[in-house]
Amino acid sequence: MSPSLRSRLSTYLLPAATAAALIVLWYVLKAVFQVPSFVLPAPHEILVAAWEERSFLWPAALVTVRGALLGFSAAVGVGFLLAMALGFSPRVKASLYPLILVLQMMPVTILAPIFVLWLGQGLPSIVAITFMIGFFPVVANTTMGFISVDRNLRELFVMCNATRAQEARYLRIPGAMPYFLTGMKIAGTLAPIGAIVGDFLAGSAQGGVGGIGYMTISYFSQLKTPALFATGLVACVMGFVFVGGVNWLHWRLLHLWHDSMVKKE
């Protein structure tokens, strides 16, 4: 088998094979346990529903994508900055970390009314909730990356009289990339969920266009279970796009030098 064929096999065929196997398993389980479609629809029913409901799902997806994208950007950006602050010095870390933990651990359901009151129902609140759900993995990972910098390189920077900003820019940030990207990947999978939950908690269907979260409640309350799963499908597609973006970034930033990517001959 040629290397290129083999790599194409891993990239496309294997996931497709797994997916196929799973779909078969899905049908089998559904048949064996006689799971009714209003609980777990068959894959084809979901696809049919997604198609039939496309005129609702598409605008809803656009609304949610906007919330997810903004919330994801906020989570990554603010998370990164927070991690920089935490990695900056043990004292800042000691001061801020508990606060960040509280933010992360306070169930967003409790804070949602405050968001709604201060930011209003709709996009700003949804973005805030998406942010809340996705920022901590970025903070935790990036901080770990910042404080795991190679000691020897740190001494090199000391000898160069590097300012803290230079040390951050040229040493800690590039060194933390593998961690940061992992955090970003987690945030990427959480962003669509965050936007959906946000839509749920603080959305409104103002102007007749709700997001996927609204559609989820709507289908759920109408017993349109295949359509409900279609919203899940939309969420997954969105998530795959986010994760795909992060994976591309991972490849771009690391493939030339990092042990996770470089194949030593």
Binding site: E155, M159, P174, W257, V262
Partner: protein, 253 residues
């Protein structure tokens, strides 16, 4: 040697945590323009001593001053070639060499030119675009040397820079180092396991004993600079070589 020594070490002691003394009772005064080599058995504290002079670690007792101030305050005068190459894996060779100049804010044109020159000196012009993982061990060390040379510091601390190099490359770099020094005179602190190298380069050789590291001998090297490669063949050189080797051997017994 000078009235006001550039680096003064008095009664220096060093231990790590609650461990045993690594260095004990080190006294040393080094004047502007001197080149001091440290030789001694593996683990005797040579690297530690260099790191103390650079202010990368602090003394447990005693005093070090560099140009009259604590080492931490004099870092812009110094540069360090670490025992490990200490390259940034995400920067290419040229980018690694460029780093100190970049950090100190030199102009891009000047940086490029200096980097190219120093890569030439260490014989790595062809590897400028490689990443560290694509280099051989000796090449990595040469990148590290090139990086230090671009800086042209007042005080250069070199921790076994040439240990991973073949004799010819090593000799050539020895000579290059002296040539650079004759142009912009720096004060050198040099750790090596090669007695010949120490004698050829230094104005003074400090022999360290082990457990704890103590100065067991100080050997003045009287040959005037600039030194030519032929010096290595002279009887006077060979005699001093033998004396130094002797002093080093005495450490163990």
């Amino acid at each position: 040697m000078n009235a006001a020594p550039l680096v003064a070490i008095r009664g220096l002691q060093k231990r790590f945590g609650a461990g045993p003394l690594v260095l004990d009772g080190i006294n040393l005064e080094v004047g502007q323009g001197e080149f001091v080599s440290f030789i001694g058995p593996s683990g005797c504290g040579k690297s530690t001593l260099l790191r103390l002079i650079a202010g990368l670690t602090s003394a447990s007792d005693g005093l070090i001053t560099v140009d009259g101030t604590p080492p931490e305050k004099a870092r812009e005068k110094m540069f360090f070639v670490f025992q490990d190459a200490t390259l940034m894996p995400w920067r290419r060779v040229a980018e690694n060499v460029e780093l100190p100049l970049l950090l100190r804010g030199d102009a891009p044109g000047h940086r490029r030119e200096r980097v190219a020159r120093m890569l030439e000196v260490v014989g790595l012009s062809g590897a400028a675009e490689k990443f560290p993982w694509q280099l051989s061990g000796g090449m990595r060390m040469r990148v590290s040397i090139a990086r230090a040379l671009t800086v042209a510091p007042e005080i250069l601390l070199l921790d076994e820079p040439f240990g991973a190099l073949d004799e010819m490359t090593r000799d050539r770099l020895n000579e290059d180092l002296l040539a650079i020094r004759s142009r912009n005179s720096f004060t050198g602190f040099f750790v090596t396991h090669s007695v010949a190298e120490a004698v050829f380069l230094s104005s003074r050789i400090v022999v360290l004993g082990v457990n704890p590291g103590r100065v067991t001998a100080v050997i003045d090297v009287p040959f005037p600079y600039p030194r030519q490669p032929e010096l290595r063949e002279t009887p006077a050189f060979l005699r001093l070589l033998a004396t130094t080797a002797q002093a080093l051997r005495a450490v163990r017994s």
